[in-house]
Amino acid sequence: MLDADKHVLSILVENQPGVLSRISGLFSGRGFNIESLCVAVTTDPTVSRVTLVTKADQTIVEQIKKQLNKLINVIKVHELTGSEFVEREMVLIKVLAKPEYRAEILRMVDIFRCKVVDVGAEHYTIEVTGDEGKLQAILSLLKPIGIKEIARTGVIALFREPK
């Protein structure tokens, strides 16, 4: 697809059963793409925020936003891409920690300012938070050492307030 860029959508929805399936059903039913999706309640317990990352060209993104707005339980749809926003994702990486590599792993943990959150006989589990670029960087550095499995949260994001 031509210029299928990444778009981050921040969607406020009513915190009710079935709302997530309305959103995911909209994407599958209309053939839209979901790269990642995060949902959790906001400070208002009746409202949840869905942060959704999609890859699509501009006309499709317009259609996605309108379709989301049309869902009865959707309160507001913001597109963050194109404006100033902060974006974070967390990943847990279970990396093979053979004795000869431990020092190097810990050095990387230090450089990337992440944390070792679990130590097993042969593995470390590392928690990394950052934007897409940072996560990619540490993942590719750890790959040759041996990544057993990872769990990613998907992106969450908010507008930056004016300084």
């Binding site: 079935g18 399936s21 379709q67 009865i72 339980n73």
Partner: protein, 561 residues
């Protein structure tokens, strides 16, 4: 005041002004039926739940109001899905109440449990599972509000058995306030000014109206606009009746089976005013070449319709009626010049297209289906409410019956569901007991909901069914003829029932015509016979609907008679 859920439901229906419900009972809705019986709401017992939804759909379209259904859980609920999908595609306000197993059994694979809210999520405007009797009253209010406002559509309310039996202290719900739903009715003035400016300079304008005009009751505002600015009008299948089919500015229907002049005008116009439409592929054909010389204005209440398939120069989000009325008001003070002279070349061109390629067919020894529709139009003076099945019969009805008024043509446009016409006719007849209601049917489609003849007979509804009996699934056969080398695979309807005897078996009247000279007589007799009548017209077997634009081709590439 203490009320049960069932009593609350009936109370709310009365408050919504519901007078008729189409339904079919079952275990988990007996309590509701028990209350319904005590009220003065009329219940029409259909013979299949799909029929209930199509009937409610027909009722809604004939009245311009909301149609209501009540069915049981499980199979009763799943049987409604096709009807709901059709209403959804055509934006028809229908509220469907389904019974559900008691809340504590939900998720247990209980007897006759289905997740109907899950199943219908993609084909309803919205749906609800009511988890407690306390929520029932305001949920019903919201359901009706959502169904009828904005771009209308079907809403399903799933009511577990214990919710309808529980007795609670009833509190009247306040007015509907929804923070998430607030359709835009009023158009943006600046956008409208752009439309006015375009109308001022257009030399070859066309108005393209759809079902949205009928839904928003904007037909007279549309007619005013067309006549004021002298703009010829075409419509979609769903828009038939939004503009008088006998007006000199009428172009006929657009699209795959549109008239030659309508499709040509669309291709050559310089301003294309699209109002209450969604640019369905059966309308546009190949999108790149569609109205490609025109500035396109698109007025619709649903923003998702705009720029979905077709790029648009001036989008206007708003209700068709509000928007057209405002536009008409703005145009009052605008000088459009000497329209007689200005429009002459354009209208002459259109007239030439009309005379070179009018809608036509060749009369032969056999009955031509088009002739039956023409005769029907003549004999009913164009005043009948026409429902249709799907296929060639539907297209001939659209082409040869001319609609001067909205809410007179009731067809399954978006879903194109065979079996729609008879139950829809029943719904329309309930809505308009004094009107003549005719289902123009095919021999295949009519068999999909033929059981509703029993409903018509039981309720003494004088619906007339005109079967254009070609012995084929004609529209599919037509595609096989034109695009598959006449390989008529599985489209020949052998072993059709004798429709005359079938009518009689239901306790209705059955008539048949085999020759052209019998057509008028059978129609006259059938239309004047009280009660439901089936008229079986044995028509030319291999007649095709023309013009035809092959799927995906530009709409100017028409196969003609």
């Amino acid at each position: 005041m203490e009320l049960t859920g069932a009593q609350i439901l009936i109370k709310m229906l009365k408050e919504e002004g519901v007078k008729n419900i189409f339904g079919y009972p079952g275990g988990v809705v007996i309590d509701i039926y028990d209350e319904l019986m005590k009220s003065d709401i009329r219940h029409i017992l259909v013979r299949h739940e799909q029929g209930a939804v199509h009937a409610a759909d027909g009722y809604a379209r004939a009245t311009g109001g909301v149609g209501v259904c009540l069915v049981t859980s499980g199979p009763g609920a799943t049987n409604t899905v096709t009807g709901i999908a059709s209403a959804y595609m055509d934006s028809i306000p229908v509220v469907v109440f389904t019974g559900q197993v008691p809340v504590h059994l939900i998720g247990n694979d209980a007897f006759q449990e289905v997740d109907i809210v899950g199943i219908t999520r993609p084909c309803t405007k919205h749906n609800f599972l009511v988890k407690s009797t306390e929520e029932l009253a305001h949920t019903i209010k919201e359901a009706f509000h959502i169904a009828r406002s904005g771009r209308p559509g079907p809403v399903l309310v799933d009511i577990p058995k214990n919710v309808s039996t529980a007795r609670i202290k009833y509190k009247a719900p306040g007015p509907v306030k929804m923070r998430t739903y607030n359709p835009t009715y009023k158009p943006n003035k600046r956008q409208l000014q752009k439309v006015v400016d375009l109308i001022k300079v257009a030399e070859k304008p066309v108005i393209f109206a759809g079902g949205g005009v009928i839904l928003s009751k904007a037909a007279s505002a549309l007619t005013k606009l067309a006549q004021r600015a002298r703009i010829p009008v075409t419509t979609t299948l769903m828009g038939l009746g939004a503009f008088p089919g006998t007006d000199p500015l009428w172009l006929g229907m657009i699209g795959m089976h549109g008239t030659y002049r309508s499709n040509m005008s669309t291709a050559h116009c310089d301003l294309f005013l699209a109002i209450g439409v969604r640019f369905d592929d059966r309308v546009t054909g190949k999108t790149d070449t569609f109205a490609s010389q025109a500035q396109i204005v698109h007025i619709d209440i649903d923003p998702t319709s705009i720029r979905k398939n077709i790029p648009v120069a001036v989008p206007v989000v708003g209700d068709c009626k509000c928007t057209l009325e405002e536009l008409n008001e703005m145009l009052e003070s605008v000088d459009l010049g000497d329209l007689d002279n200005r429009r002459k070349p354009w209208l002459d061109q259109i007239q030439a297209w009309k005379s070179t390629n009018p809608l036509a067919y060749h009369q032969e020894e056999t009955i031509k289906p088009q002739y039956v529709v023409e005769k029907l139009y003549e004999l009913t003076k164009g005043e009948a409410i026409i429902t249709t099945e799907v296929g060639q019969n539907q297209m001939w009805a659209a082409q040869y019956y001319h609609f001067d008024k909205p809410n007179h043509f009731i067809t399954s446009g978006g879903l194109g569901v065979m079996g729609f016409g008879l139950p829809a006719a029943i719904g329309a007849q309930i809505a308009c007991p004094d009107r003549l209601v005719v289902d123009i049917a095919g021999d295949g489609s009519i068999q999909m909901n033929i059981q509703e003849m029993a409903t018509a007979v039981q309720c003494n509804l004088p619906v007339k069914v005109v079967i254009l009996n070609n012995g084929y699934l004609g529209m599919v056969r037509q595609w096989q003829q034109l695009f598959y080398d006449k390989r008529y695979c599985c489209t020949c309807m052998e072993h059709a029932p004798d429709f005359v005897k079938l009518a009689e078996a239901y306790g209705a009247t059955g008539l048949r015509a085999r020759k052209p000279e019998e057509v008028e007589e059978v129609l006259k007799k059938g239309l004047s016979t009280p009660g439901p009548v089936i008229m079986d017209f044995v028509v030319e077997k291999e007649e095709c609907v023309y013009p035809m634009v092959p799927a995906g081709a530009p709409i100017t590439e028409m196969l003609l008679v």
